[in-house]
């Protein structure tokens, strides 16, 4: 009797789970154009699932270009860099996406180190230069992006202020509670600010190791007095400053340009001492259902068309040196970058530095709002 009951339970349970799983397996019907393309190029899938972590505008443009160029629909899930890293950590070794595009350096190198990504050396990226090549072929460095200062023009005019010119100018008490910056925990730009400060106030002043790090933290602690709060993504400061919620912010150059194009009264500046930058990568996740299509996408991202599109978004120094990023076209030259910025060191030490940053800034006594 017990056996019969068990069988009855099992059959009913399987039926229920099976029904739901079948419902879950139902994919959206691919659009007509995609189906037609699929017939022409049989190997390409009609859609791929991608974790994307740049700005919304950037992701949407790249997805559109891939669809127009390859006929592959990008089912994207947009998160900040740190969030994509956390997602990969929690899903490993079974990922819900086929690939990641616009992943920041620390997360990309973690994926490589942990064996979450598979190698693919793309012909399209051959000869792109040392800065863009991974000898193992696991990571494809798409470009670089930078973190700049933005301000609300109207608010600055009303207050009679001008945009700070240097990192030190940001420490002026007149900016108290008026600055929003991205969090180093969740945002790639937030982490760029952290290691930029260490390079500028530590390594470039002749300090080494812990001393250099402490000098950077000392600057950030002084800056923290003027910061209202740390945002989850670098896009948020651009919006908050654009909407007059706050006077100053630090953001990714692409996010700033996108808001300026939308009509926000934003002004921007690259600090006199230089600005920090970071790489952005693409990789194919282990177990990707559409591996071949992902490889084709990596190839496609290396075409001149995509490089120009990246540059037009405003922030990227692409593999093609003839293309000038749009934000800097008006000034006619690239901004000054912080010298001796060691991306490799930043990647290796991210977990430790972010933990310390969190303890020092996010977990400290809250300020009176």
């Amino acid at each position: 009797m017990k056996k019969q009951r068990f069988i009855l339970f099992s059959v009913a349970l399987l039926f229920l789970l099976g029904s739901i799983a079948l419902a879950g397996g139902t994919k959206e019907a691919p659009e007509l154009e995609a189906v037609e393309k699929e017939v022409e190029e049989e190997e390409l899938a009609s859609e791929v699932k991608v974790y994307m972590s740049a700005t919304r505008e950037n992701n949407e443009l790249i997805s559109r270009l891939i669809y127009e160029g390859l006929g592959v629909k990008v089912i994207q899930h947009f998160m900040s860099c740190g969030e994509v890293g956390a997602r990969l950590r929690s899903e490993a070794p079974r990922f819900s996406a086929d690939m990641a595009i616009n992943l920041c350096a620390a997360e990309a190198f973690e994926a490589k180190r942990e064996g979450w990504a598979i190698p693919y050396i793309s012909k399209e990226w051959a000869g792109a230069g040392k800065a863009f090549e991974d000898p193992d072929g696991v990571l494809t460095k798409l470009a670089n992006y930078s973190t700049i200062l933005i301000g609300n023009k109207d608010m600055l005019d009303e207050a009679g202020y001008t945009l700070p010119e240097s990192w030190d100018d940001l420490l002026d008490p007149k900016w108290r509670g008026q600055i929003v910056v991205p969090s180093a925990v969740t945002s790639g730009n937030g982490y760029i600010i952290l290691y930029s400060a260490m390079t500028l106030y530590g390594f470039n002043k002749g300090l080494t190791g812990k001393e250099a790090e402490d000098a950077g933290f000392k600057y950030l602690e002084a800056l923290d007095k003027n910061i209202h709060h740390y945002a989850r993504s670098s896009s948020t400061p651009a919006d908050l400053v654009g909407r007059r919620e706050f006077m100053l912010g630090m953001t990714q150059d692409a996010a700033a340009l996108a808001r300026i194009r939308k009509g926000y009264p934003l002004v921007w500046r690259a600090f006199d001492e230089g600005i920090g930058y970071g790489g952005t990568f693409a990789l194919i996740l282990k177990g990707a259902k559409e591996e071949y299509t992902c490889k084709k996408i990596i190839d496609f991202l290396g075409t001149k068309e995509v490089c120009e599109a990246y540059a037009d978004l405003g922030n990227y120094v692409t593999k093609d040196p003839t293309v000038i990023p749009a934000l800097y076209r008006d000034v006619g030259q690239l901004p000054k970058y912080i010298t001796n910025l060691n991306e490799e060191w930043a990647v290796e030490n991210k977990a430790r530095l972010v933990t310390e940053w969190k303890e020092r800034f996010l977990m400290k006594q809250e300020k009176k709002e």
């Binding site: 019969q4 349970l13 789970l17 419902a23 089912i75 994207q76 990969l88 819900s96 706050f246 709002e369």
Partner: protein, 561 residues
């Protein structure tokens, strides 16, 4: 010959299965339901507990030690408790005032107040956070108009936002109890010379105590566990739910997130136990039965004016919120470039997210309603040990913080034997199992009104259990089924705290899409998607109600009641 023998054997097996099913249907169904609840409610919570004590080198209390030794977590825990303790009485008070006005207040106001008060139940929880930024942010409409210099980002903003969001829920639960009170009691007291204040203090409020306590528990749990508005408005003030969210989404730190989750469950569990104890003590006051029609009482100004004032303020803010969000959905850049635009409304990705939400909510609604009424039937008609545990388990999903359930699902179903992450199924199951308690409770109430003699008569006349359930019980229980379906459907459409951890590429949901847009400061997209979500929920509810009328099931249900 062999064929005939095979046929006979098949018939015997079929007959055996049929007999087994007929003889033990309720018990077997109960067992199956228990198994499902154990898998989809207990197992995820157990995994959270396990993760909180499981370090790289085995069992450890290191993460708990960290929690109790770091000042930050104390503040986070304290802020969370304080928020719950402030918001809960505010919501109960305001909800009671509106409920009093819609059941005993001026007749011409009742319908409008009810409609306005229920409107936020169709919108995502953080809609008030969006409107507060537009109205009271540094560049807010009210801030600028009154030249205010305060900040909405912080504890105060969170209190206002959570209170406004949860007043409708408090109202709904209190109104439900208030409308079942017999007005003759109040009339008798009035005839004996009791003042309105005295009647309120000594008759209505004591009789409503179980309803208040039940509402207080739900509101407290939802206040502390829903992180959407808190994440948008908290600034630098720490709360447990956003901390859990950031630990998972920002750092992938499941150990610490699990510890925080356990501390999130703790106050909810304590309040659940206290509430049960208090209700047990007051059981004699419980009112059952149908609403009794009576002439509306004329309320004096002492009661009417303050209650109307509270109702108007709450409903006014609700209307203002929807108005502001509605306008922002069609404005290019609110406060900067106020030209009309349709770009946010036409945003294609939000349409995809909405379609996903509808698909998942319909499936969750069906599953939740089905399981809810089956549970109710087993609990009322079953005659075996463990029925109380089954009922408690059915309600557990409802009283557990959504954040914890979201993490639990990732931990439980991202590895064999049951891999569900990255599928639509995990979203459907999470939504259904968390909310099925409502359909179950409604089903229990309905079944208590149905005499078992009718079912016994059906069985004596030769109908089996399944036929009896289909022909006798189902028409009676149908309103509960519909109620359960609608509840699960709506909460799945607007819910965020659990599903935010479970969405993957291809299964983006509207509520998560709105939350992300709000977090990134894209208010136009957030407001437009919110408006579309409210409209879609409204249309879906109208279609469901229309369908139930068209099929005649609702009429049958009414007859059954």
């Amino acid at each position: 010959m062999a064929e005939a023998r095979e046929l006979t054997r098949t018939r015997v097996v079929y007959q055996n299965i049929k007999d087994l099913f007929a003889a033990h249907t309720i018990r077997n169904t109960g067992g199956l339901l228990f198994l499902l609840l154990a898998i989809f409610l207990l197992w995820p919570i157990f995994m959270v507990l396990l993760k909180s004590i499981n370090g790289p080198e085995g069992i450890t209390l290191q993460y708990y030690k960290e929690f109790v030794t770091k000042d930050y977590y104390y503040r986070s825990f304290f802020n969370t408790l304080l928020l719950g303790l402030i918001v809960t009485p505010l919501c109960i008070g305001a909800g009671f005032c509106i409920a009093y006005m819609t059941t005993r207040g001026p007749v011409f106001l009742r319908r409008s107040l009810r409609l306005i008060a229920l409107l936020p139940l169709m919108a995502p929880p953080f809609i008030f956070a969006l409107s507060l930024i537009i109205l009271l942010g540094h560049n807010g409409i009210i801030t600028k108009a009154l030249n205010l210099s305060w900040s909405i980002y912080g504890f105060t903003g969170c209190v206002i936002s959570q209170t406004l969001w949860l007043i409708p829920l408090a109202y709904m639960m209190i109104e439900n109890t208030l409308s079942t009170l017999n007005p003759n009691l109040e009339d008798s007291a009035a005839n004996l010379g009791a003042s309105e204040g005295k009647i309120l203090r000594s008759i209505i409020i004591p009789l409503l105590t179980p309803g208040f306590l039940k509402a207080a528990l739900i509101i407290f749990v939802m206040t502390v566990s829903a992180f959407g508005a808190l994440a948008i408005l908290c600034g630098r003030t720490p709360f447990l739910a956003p901390d859990v969210y950031l630990l998972i989404t920002g750092e992938g730190d499941f150990n610490r997130a699990s510890v925080l989750s356990m501390f999130l469950i703790l106050p909810c569990a304590v309040i659940f136990i206290i509430q049960n104890y208090l209700i047990r003590g007051k059981r004699y006051t419980t009112i059952v039965g149908k609403p009794v029609a009576a002439e509306p009482k004329h309320l004096g100004p002492v009661i009417l004016i303050p209650m109307l004032a509270v109702s108007f303020i709450a409903c006014g803010f609700i209307l203002l919120t929807f108005g502001v969000v509605g306008i922002a959905a069609f404005i290019k850049l609110m406060g900067i470039d106020n030209t009309f635009t349709l770009i946010y409304i036409l945003d294609a990705r939000s349409n995809v997210a909405l379609t996903n939400s509808i698909k998942i909510s319909l499936l969750s609604g069906l599953l939740g309603a089905m399981l809810g009424v089956l549970l109710a039937y087993v609990i009322i008609r079953g005659k075996f040990k463990g029925l109380a545990a089954l009922e408690g388990l059915g309600l557990a999903g409802f009283t557990l913080p959504g954040t914890v359930m979201g993490i639990g699902y990732i931990l439980a179903f991202n590895k064999p034997p049951l891999i569900l992450t990255g599928t639509l199924a995990i979203l459907v199951l999470n939504c259904a199992f968390r909310q099925l308690g409502v359909g179950m409770e409604a089903g229990i109430i309905k079944l208590k009104q149905l005499s078992i003699e009718i079912e016994e008569a059906s069985l004596n006349l030769g109908a089996n259990v399944v036929t009896t359930f289909r022909r006798i019980v189902l028409p009676i229980i149908f309103p509960a089924c519909m109620y359960g379906f609608m509840y699960v459907f709506i909460l799945s459409m607007i819910g965020l705290s659990a599903v935010v951890f479970l969405v993957t590429p291809g299964y983006e949901l509207a509520s998560v899409y709105i939350f992300d847009a709000a977090i990134w400061g894209e208010l136009g997209i957030a407001c437009a998607t919110t408006i579309k979500l409210v409209i879609v929920v409204g249309i879906c509810l109208a279609i469901i109600q229309g369908l139930s009328k068209w099929t005649g099931l609702s009429a049958a249900a009414r007859r059954g009641v």
